[in-house]
């Protein structure tokens, strides 16, 4: 199937000023490639600091100003330029961020989910998506600081599905949740994929990735080390990179001693 999102040879580097005025380029991602197909969950697994969030920000064209990106990002068959990204953001492409700090602390949840729209249609849809994730209409009137960790995560997912997106980028959406709550969140991703959306699930948690993803891309040193299916990974077949093999070895069930 034609991938909804394909990333080829993506590199992201930062311009940094060291001592004095010497300018140094610090590369975070170098030559990363992956593809997300509609109806599938692709998990991107990498250590903290491997540049996983930068991948999400590069796709959405919201990298910090001192970052430089190169490579090709294609969405729906055509190049995803800054102009296109600006149109697609929040409509066809949705980001699910890490936690409650991504909500404006001074604004009620309902208004944030609706992005300030107050039409009866938007209000109805807002209540609908809240209900879909088991949140009552009273949630609209809460401020972010009044949400529990699990509620905040569900509100962030509700933000993403307000506009029935075709591509969902979830950037570490589970830290701080217990296994049960994390499982529920992943269930929501699975459900979105089954409805036809492509899901890019960025995480450092290999076990979670294996449990939910159709395919797993392992990042190492800013590059794609391997892309395999969970069953391949478990079996240890098709792993070409030493890092991926070591990662598999390190799992509790694979005699990591």
């Amino acid at each position: 199937m034609e991938p909804i999102l394909s990333v080829e040879d993506l590199s992201v580097s930062f311009a940094r000023y060291d001592r004095g005025l010497s300018r140094r380029s610090l590369s975070a991602l170098r030559g990363l490639s992956l593809a997300v197909e509609p109806g599938q969950v692709l998990a991107v697994v990498g250590e903290s600091g491997a540049g996983k969030s930068l991948l999400a920000h590069a796709i959405l064209h919201i990298l910090p100003r001192n970052a430089q990106a190169s490579g090709t990002i294609r969405y729906g068959g055509a190049s995803l330029t800054r102009e296109r990204a600006e149109v697609l953001r929040g409509r066809e492409v949705a980001l699910i961020p890490q936690g409650v700090t991504f909500l404006d602390p001074m604004m009620k949840v309902g208004s944030q989910i609706r992005r300030g729209e107050n039409s009866p249609d938007a209000r109805a849809r807002c209540r609908q998506v809240l209900e879909r994730y088991g949140l009552g209409p009273e949630t609209e009137e809460l401020y972010p600081f009044q949400l529990s960790g699990g509620m905040a995560r569900r509100v962030l997912i509700a933000c993403a599905v307000m506009e029935s997106p075709r591509l969902i980028i979830a950037d570490e959406p589970t830290p701080g949740l217990d296994a049960k709550a994390a499982g529920r969140v992943l269930g929501h991703f699975r459900e979105l994929a089954e409805q036809g959306a492509g899901v890019l699930f960025i995480t450092h948690d290999l076990t979670l990735a294996l449990s939910v993803a159709d395919r797993i891309t392992v990042l190492y040193d800013g590059q794609t080390a391997d892309t395999v299916s969970p069953s391949q990974f478990r079996a240890g077949t098709g792993l070409t990179h030493p890092y991926t093999r070591a990662l598999r070895q390190a799992m509790p069930e694979n005699d990591f001693l």
Binding site: L88, L95, P97, D104, P105, M106
Partner: protein, 326 residues
């Protein structure tokens, strides 16, 4: 509700302690001043021609022969009963002098307070939203320059430009000279230059602080998420909302700086306000008036910070709802 009451009670106790401390400090400083009230107010030549009885009478009037502790305690005693005494220089009740002077100064202070707040917030937003680009550098450059400029010097500069060269604004005073009852417009015209001087100095400070806050907010996760969701009007919807809190604090905290600045600025513009009265009271050893002005201005500044605290509770949902939940 009991939370609010407790809060208010704590603040009131703090205010009482503050006023006590401020009045005592002012008294001790004045007491330690090398100025001899008789020599300053009567003059060396006049003193020389007076009889010892006359001098003793004058010493009694200026309180030069009473021990310091006794003078302070007797002032404090009557102040607690609401009597701030009689000004030695103006020979009228201190409260009356302060009331009259304050009503003149209020034009100036209000003018400067509103202008500096609006200007500072606007420039701060402009600079923060354009971080690193030319509007930011321009605003920051100007603000840093103004911040390092003494207010009285800035006042002189404005006087030279607008009153001496361009002759479009009056050179000083609060009303036209010898003009009887002044109209509102005339009062505003006279308050404009000193008000502008105060505003420019105040605005620079507020703009620099606001800019920092805007930069912080723009770097936050929630702005990133708002951008990722393709939100428009991010500045109005998120930045302004989150900058409002520190802006309110700054605005009310600036009352203190404004009053401080007005002492110098009123001197430059011969503006007969509270600041000028404070200077004359200090130089003329008018202890009751000086203590009165110190206490009243300290109360004003404290009131400003208190208002900011209360508004904070009203604006910030975390405090408002948090307090209600307790």
């Amino acid at each position: 509700m009991s939370h609010r009451l407790q809060f208010t009670a704590k603040k009131l106790v703090r205010m009482a302690l503050l006023l006590l401390g401020v009045s005592l400090t002012a008294f001790l400083l004045m007491n330690a001043s090398p100025l001899d009230p008789l020599q300053t107010n009567v003059g060396q030549a006049a003193l020389g021609s007076m009889s010892p009885e006359q001098i003793a009478k004058l010493e009694e009037y200026w309180g030069a022969d009473t021990p310091a502790a006794e003078r302070y305690l007797s002032w404090l005693g009557s102040a607690l009963r609401g009597d701030l005494g009689v000004s030695l220089l103006y020979r009228r009740p201190v409260l009356e002098v302060i009331g009259q002077r304050l009503s003149t100064s209020l034009w100036l202070l209000a003018c400067a307070w509103v202008l500096s707040g609006a200007l500072g917030l606007g420039l701060g937003l402009l600079a923060g939203a354009n971080r690193g680009r030319w509007p930011d550098r321009l605003v920051r450059g100007c603000c840093l320059t103004v911040s390092s400029t003494p207010a009285f010097w800035l006042g002189l500069l404005l006087l030279i430009v607008f009153a001496v060269w361009l002759k479009i604004l009056p050179i000083g005073m609060a009303v036209p000279i010898g003009g009887g009852q002044a109209t509102l417009l005339e009062r505003l015209r006279h308050a404009l230059l000193p008000g502008l001087t105060l505003s420019i100095t105040g605005a620079a400070n507020i703009a620099l602080h606001t800019r920092e806050k805007v930069v912080d907010v723009l770097d936050s996760d929630y702005i990133l998420f708002a951008r990722a969701r393709g939100e428009r009007h991010i500045l109005r919807r998120h930045v302004l909302r989150n900058v409002a809190l520190p802006a309110v604090t700054l605005q009310f905290a600036s009352i203190g700086e404004l009053i401080g600045g007005s002492v110098l600025v009123e001197q430059v513009f011969s503006y007969p306000g509270l600041g000028q009265a404070a200077v004359s009271a200090g130089l003329g050893s008018d202890m009751p008036l000086l203590l009165g002005i110190t206490v009243v201005t300290a109360a004003l500044v404290f009131g400003g910070s208190l208002t900011a605290d209360l508004l904070y509770g009203a604006i910030d949902p975390r405090i408002r709802k948090g307090a209600a939940a307790q």
